[in-house]
Symmetry: C2
Subunit: 329 residues, 2 copies
């Protein structure tokens, strides 16, 4: 049997102090990335295994976080949350945490699942995806002092809890300004029914960019449930009523529908989607791209900050999207 | 405080015996789906929570299974495993299991992760995705008597361990026969380098279908690493060397590349991909569709069978794919 690998062995191998190895194991977010990677490589190379039970007693942590996987949907917009989940698993891993999956079809069942998970496993925290006005899920967790972070803002009260989000309004504003700069003036918007935080935010970016350019947005937007068929239907309506020369959409699904509707229209109508899904890349659809890997990493940062009681960690992170330009715009 | 909810309460509510409730909790695969759903609804409605610690002692189970999430890739073929993971989480949930995620970039690190996970958590079993000749991961798990099931065949020895797979050769044969029935004779194949179990299997289906129709497949196939650019390059080569009228591809990525290459070719070349990804649906690419939800459910069935020591459960499940016909074929 080989000599037992200890923290000291790892420290020697990675040319760092024992405290640094301990930090990588217990508070990885305070260790510089380069150092953390070197220590993690040494841990792997040497086959070091921290005694989890001992560590859990010391830190009071299971190092297990729960995240929701969405029920299977159309595979277009759903892919956004899949990419977030990939990033979350990778960064949680690097920070010494594992992700436990759950799924739920509505809020009530999701809350029942929290209750079940908390009763069954020693969870450290939850990562919630998607937020909305009056979200009963965050209220339930906050009421029980369960640590959590959301990917998405608490739309009612931005200080309610730690969150990471992407600035959707900045994304649609950027898309709209790009179209304005290309000479478009009648730029429409295809979005979701009024009253959803995310949908209203994306609509506001388009509206404000038009107003800033001295253009009245009245009558230039349409609202529908998300989906390719819905996008096609409303785009046909826009074509016959306001004849826009370009359209900004709240999702790639709506934008794909708009592309169907404008087939054969001459001159071609420009279309920009939202989320830069693999489908958008494949069909050449310009789209607003969310930094999903970074969002996941910042969620893990926030969580480790919360769990460590580090009150200097910022608790709200608003990331900027980018415009992926392709031949539809 | 409300009356304590017991198994008897659930049984009364769901109009089943206490044994049936117990079966839903401990061996759900032996309960008819309709009954299982009714009991699960009653469990949720009543807020019944089985005492996990007691159940674990009784069954020796943590009811935790580990599954890999792939590192983020091109978002096209990766979506297949995402869909599998959705199905796995949903069916595992219905069977009373939770899914713990891990990620790994190569076999060595994946095995190191097994070691870490087994040392850290009380795992019941692993679900592995992707299999290949001489797979070191399955050898490692089998050598330690860790229960596992693979989505993918053990290509060296079909009886090596429990598995669920989709019959890829049947899928490409079906695609080829469809093209033959449409009058095509010079049907090419775009696939992966020789020596991969999955790739060779998909090539064999095309080859055997051609031979059965009295056509010599020699010279009609090309091999490359997966990717849109690679597919486009090899399809251009096929066009100038053998001028096929149709092509069957080992993946949707290769097929999307083939579509780029044939743009403007007249008469149009028919293209069929593999995996029926959301991108295929969006661009109208005909593709072989894998029953991923069923594959995930059968993996959970096999696992519960293995964990229950139920030796009557079949340990190998080969599912049939279907051809999703769209305008490219």
């Amino acid at each position: 049997m080989a000599e037992k690998v200890t923290i000291a062995t790892v420290a020697r191998h990675a040319r760092v102090s024992r405290q640094t190895v301990s930090n990588v194991l217990n508070a990885p977010h305070i260790v510089r990335e380069e150092t953390r990677l070197r220590v993690q490589d040494a841990i792997r190379a040497l086959g070091y295994r921290a005694n989890q039970a001992a560590r859990q007693m010391r830190t009071g942590r299971s190092r297990l976080i729960a995240a929701r996987i969405e029920p299977t949907r159309d595979g277009i917009n759903g892919s956004v949350l899949d990419r977030f989940l990939h990033g979350l698993t990778e960064t949680a891993d690097a920070a010494g945490y594992r992700v436990l999956l759950y799924t739920a079809t509505d809020d009530e069942r999701e809350i029942a699942t929290y209750d079940d998970l908390l009763g069954t496993y020693e969870l450290d925290a939850f990562v919630l995806v998607g937020t909305k006005y009056g979200d009963p899920r965050t209220a339930w967790l906050a009421g029980r002092d369960v640590p959590f972070v959301t990917f998405g803002r608490p739309w009612d009260a931005l200080d309610a809890h730690p969150w990471v989000d992407v600035d959707g309004a900045a994304g649609t504003a950027q898309a709209t300004r790009h179209l304005l700069a290309s000479g478009h003036r009648r730029i429409a918007f295809l979005g979701w029914p009024l009253g959803s935080g995310v949908g209203d935010d994306r609509r506001a970016g388009w509206r404000d960019a038009l107003r800033a350019a001295g253009i009245d947005p009245t009558g230039l937007h349409r609202e529908t449930e998300d989906g390719i068929a819905e996008g096609e239907r409303l785009m046909r309506d826009l074509l016959v009523t306001v004849a826009p020369t370009a359209v900004v959409c709240a999702s790639d699904s709506l934008a794909l529908g708009a592309l169907q509707a404008i087939r054969g229209v001459d001159p071609p109508v420009s279309v920009i989607g939202f989320d830069d899904t693999p489908v958008a890349a494949a069909v050449g659809l310009a789209s607003v791209s969310q930094p999903l890997g970074e969002a996941a990493a910042r969620c893990v940062d926030l969580l480790t900050g919360v769990l460590d009681g580090n009150h200097e960690t910022p608790t709200h992170v608003l990331l900027q999207p980018a415009l992926a330009l392709r031949h539809t715009a």
